[in-house]
Each structure stands twice: as C-alpha cells, then as structure tokens.
Amino acid sequence: MTTPLLEIRNLHVRLEEQPEIEILRGIDLTIQPGEVHSIMGPNGSGKSTLAQVLSGKEDYEITEGEILFNGEDLAEMDADERANAGVFLAFQYPVEIPGVSSMQFLKAAVNAKRAFEGKEELDAGSLIKHFRAKAEQINVPFEMLKRNVNEGFSGGEKKRFEIFQMAVLDSVLGILDESDSGLDIDALKIVSDGVNSMRDGNRGFLLITHYQRLLSYIVPDRVHVLVKGQIIKSGGKELALELEEHGYAPFGVNETASQPVTA
C-alpha cells in the first residue's frame, strides 16, 4: 500500500494569540499521490488557516491531532524545511518584496532546496534554462522574472507567478489558497492550465476555494465542505456543483450573516 502524500488526522488548531478560539476542530483528510482535493467553505470556516498550518506559519498552535507528509510528521518541520521537502503554498495574497528581483528570489529558493537535498547549487546558465522551460510550461512571460517579486504585479500576474514558482520548485504537494479569487476568466484559465500541466499521477493538490468556478477547470477527485472548522461533507466533483446550486445554506450556514474572519 502506498503511503499517502498527505494525511491529516483529527487536527485541532487554535490561534496562538487567541487560544480561546478553536479554528480547526478535528479535521481528517487524506490525499493520495496524484489526487486533487478541494476544500470548499464559506468565509471564516478555517480554509486559509488550514493552508497556513500546512505550510508552517507559526501563528497557530496544533492542540491535537497530526499531519503526516509522505509519512513524516510535518508539524516537526519549519516552514522552509516543509517547502524544501515539497510542500508549496500558493498564497491568497502574494507578498511584494521591494528591491528583490524575482530571479534572485527564485534562485535563492531553488538553491535552498538543492542544499536541502544535498545537491550542488545550480550555475546561472542552468538556472536560466530551468526558469525558461517552466515559464513556457506555465505560460508566464520570462520578462516577469526581471521584475521585483510581486511588485506592481496585477492580481492575475501574482497568481500566475505563484503557480510558476510551484513549477520551478517542482513541489509535490500544491496547496492553492483561493488562487481563483479576483481573477477574470482568462487569468483563471491560465492558472488552471498551469496546474493541470503539473498533474502527473504523483503530485497532489489541495485547492482551497469559495466557488465552484475553479473546479470546472481543475477537476478534483474529492471535494470537502469545511464549515466552522470541521469537514461536514465529502464527495466527488459533483458535490461542488451541488454547492454552486444551493450554496452553503443546506449546511446551516447563513452566508449573509457576518462571520468571524480568520483567514
């Protein structure tokens, strides 16, 4: 039997600063190699928290449960170690880094991963070649790499650049935190094509989204509905369509009511 790519068991998470609030209340989720899972849920359900906990942001405390990545305890690893081991978080709000060119940034990231794997640094020529190939695959203009990280990027450019980074780093688990939000249909298609081009039977994806729209382009194997920190329903891709039609109301969620924003 193959080891699952990601196995989340009974995960309970609180905010370090506000331990009285439990954000994730017993999540179970298993992603096998090659699978695409989607987590859907209303605002404030804990979707983004889950993404950040997986990628190693330290504002959270795991109070119960465990996260296994390729059978290893992910919680024991720092954010950079997780990334180097193959976990990639595509940020909902990618961060601008003034004065640092995308090229310089990615060079640091690629070589950090290579050092982690005990490999030598890539020379400039090989790096450029690698970047060019991935830029073509993900359909981002190579010129983007000459600009500073996310500085002055449009919303669509930022999201495409995230997917491009995932391809450059050759990550095995891609967590996309609302990568569809704020995108027009063309940008959405480019992002989706990029992700689909990386599906190879081994790589796994966790798509976090509010809307079904993304899932028409990246078709998931499993869909989970996250409400108030718990997965209350799981199903196939048809579940997303169901949600699209009826909203989250059948799950007792009133979307118009104000929700605590934890994302």
């Binding site: 640091a108 950090a112 400039a124």
Partner: protein, 498 residues
Amino acid sequence: MTTTEEVAQIAESRREYTAGFVTDIEQEFAPPGLDESTVRFISAKKDEPEWLLEWRLKAFRHWQTMDEPDWVFLPYGYPPIDYQAISYYAAPKKGPESLDEVDPAILETYAKLGIPLSEQKVLLGIEDGTPAEAREAEGRKVAVDAVFDSVSIKTTFQDELAAAGVIFCSISEAVKEHPELVKKYLGSVIPYSDNYFATLNSAVFSDGSFVYIPKGVKCPMELSTYFRINARNTGQFERTLIIADEGAEVSYLEGCTAPMRDENQLHAACVELVALGNAKIKYSTIQNWYPGDENGKGGIYNFVTKRGICKGDDSHISWTQVETGSAITWKYPSVILRGDRSKGEFYSVALTNLRQQADTGTKMIHIGKDTKSTIISKGISAGEGHNTYRGLVQMNSSASNAHNFTQCDSILIGDQCGAHTFPYVDIRNATATAEHEASTTKVAEDQMFYCTARGISEEDALSLLVNGFCKEVFSELPMEFAVEANKLLAVSLEGSVG
C-alpha cells in the same frame, strides 16, 4: 518565527568577523604620545619638505586649542580618548622596493582579505542572480594601493596608469614626486583648521593615496585603496587626495578592515576630492572595520572627514558608502557644489548590529546655479545598534534653481535597536527646491514568511530582504563591489534571526 523578542535574543549571539586576524610582523613604532616632536618624527620619517612640516605644525598648534566635539548622537557614548596613549606611527620594518620584497606575511594578509596585490585581472563570480546574458564574464583590472597601518605597502599597475597620464601613488610618494600638485590641493577642500579630527589628521597623517587624472582622461581602470590596521594601540590617520582635472573621470574604491581587539582604536582619516570643470569622481567605500563584540567591547572609532568640491562647471562627485563595521561611525561625506550645473550624490548603507553606533550622513552645499544633489540613505539597525542619519542641505543665495532630493529609509530588525534622523535644510534662495522623503519600517513578518514558505532559511530571507532594501545604493557600486557588499551585509546580519 521571527518574533521581535527572539530576534533580539539571538541578534547578538553570533557574528563572524573574518577579517579579525592579526599579522605577526616586525614593526617600527613611534612611542605613544603626541607633542610637536611626534609631528616632527613623522615628517622626518617621511623625509618631507619644510612646507609640509610647517603645515603639520600649524595644524597641531591649532588642534591644541580645540575641544573634542560632543554633538554626535551616540546613546551608549564612548569613554574619553586618551590621545597620549596612542602611537601615531607604525610601519613594517622591511620597506619593500617591489612586490617581491613585500613581507610575505603582509602579502598573505591581503590575500586572505581577497585583495589582489599582484597585477592580475580580478575574476568575478557574480552571485546576485543576474541573468547570464546580462553579465560580463571578463575579468577587470583594479589598481590597488595597500596601506598597512601607517604606510603604503604597494601600489599596483602604476606603469600602465602612468602611460595614460594618471598618477596613482601613496601620498608620501606624491609629496616627493609631485609637490606642486600636493601643495596646491592639500587642505584646499578640508582646511587644516576644519574640525577636531581633521585637524589632528593634518598634524599626524602618515600615509594614504594620491590620484591625479589629467585633462580629458578617463581613468582606464578602477582605482582602489585598501586600508588595514594591524598594530595594537596605534591610530590610523591616512589622507587621500584625488584630483580630476577638466573633463577627467575616475572611479575610486576604498576598503577597510582591522583585527579583533578588546581595546578601541582610532581611525581619523581625511579624504579630499577636487573635480574641475566637467570632471567626474565616483568614490565608493566599503567599510568593515572591526565592530567590537556583543558587549560593545573593542572596535574601531571611525571619525573621518570626507569632502569633495565640484570646483568647475558641470562637474560631478558621487559618494557611495557601505558602512558595516566600526564600533562608532561618525562621518559625513560631503560635496561643495561650486561650479554651475554641478552634481553631488550621496548613496549610503549603514548597518549597526551588536552595540554599534553610527551617526552618518552628508552635507550638500549648493553655491553654483542649477546645481543638483541627491541623497539616498539606508539605515539598518539590528541587535542593540543605533543608527542615525544626519544630513545638511544648504542652498546659498547664489544657488539659483538648485535642487536637492533626499530619501532616508530606516529598517529595524528586533526591538532593542534604534533609528534616528536629523535632517537640516538651509535654503537662502527662493528658486531653490528641496525634497525630503523618509520612512522607518520593521522587517515585515509576512515577507519573511513568504520567503521561508519558498524554502529560504530565515537568515537568508533576512539578508535577501535587506539587500532589496539597499538596492538603490548597491546599484551605484561597481559590480564586483556590489557583490562584496551583499555578502558583507549577510555576514554582518548573521544571527539576527532566531
């Protein structure tokens, strides 16, 4: 995670100062102490003409009437300097005639520091992620004047430079070989009576570099001086004089290191730049004097006077400094914009970590019409370091349409450090304009997380962010020194994150 408490805790714990070794060679010292006989001793050692001795003595007598200034902003202060405990002259006993005769221990010192004293091209490994196609792989020639304690050890590429008419030698040599130039310009930008430390320098300066670029000549290579303090209990008082005649151009680099020692050492240098009509001087400094330890023990007092004059019309002087070392840095590389349409620039990165203190900035004195000055200052404070920008923009009544742009940015790493800004603006001409922008930021946790989420360690992430913060200044440095500055900054910040 980089919480500020953790940062502060670890910021001081580690720091590698790789230039902190001592070279064991036989040296000749002046006995500690300072009186007229010391001045005469130094002058005699250098076999100087009478006029120079007189100038030194005039300076010394004036210095005796002065008080050490105390207006510098240094939260930790510093103990009084005992000027009688310092030795004002230290020189290796073996005086070399050629490179073959330079003490091998000294050659090794410079080799260890990565300074080529043999006349070879400097081959560069560029590591800043610049695309391969944008790089020049070819090596470049850099002529070096190496100053070891009080004397110049070796100046490279002199013959090749002489063929272009460029004079590049130690100032001692210039006094002998080109007295008319030295006499004309020495003290013409920084008078012997200028300020306490410059006056002291005028009395006891031991060596330094001299550059003259003749009319219309673009210096065929980068010139550089590398200052090394080695001896214990000595001060280093070098004097550099650079003259670019009409239409001449030169780019000059200065580097500095010193051994790690528990006692403080005084470095009171003077640098004078003269740009005649249409001339251009670019002066870059990478200052990495020993900063002292985490308790503030030891380190160099870097009390330096640097000033240039844009004497002719359309002349241009540009200062770029990367200051990462020294226990205390107290200096203001300045430009007097006398020629019409002349330009002055100051680009600075000053980093204080541990218990380092820096009060640095610039003075731009606009006299000519349509003169322009640009000031870009980036202060980085980590550990318990305090970083002060102090700058004067003065526009005299004659400076019609003068313009200044000032940008002062500070970044704080941890919560035990400080950043301070004292801008002075003095405008006496209604057509002159000055713009000032300033910002102070903390290293943003979301930026740090974005980097670590890509596999970049916190330490590398911090150095990446700080390098980005300094980019406008580093882009002013010659390529190989920009790389050097990047590395130096990374080393200086080591241990600043947990």
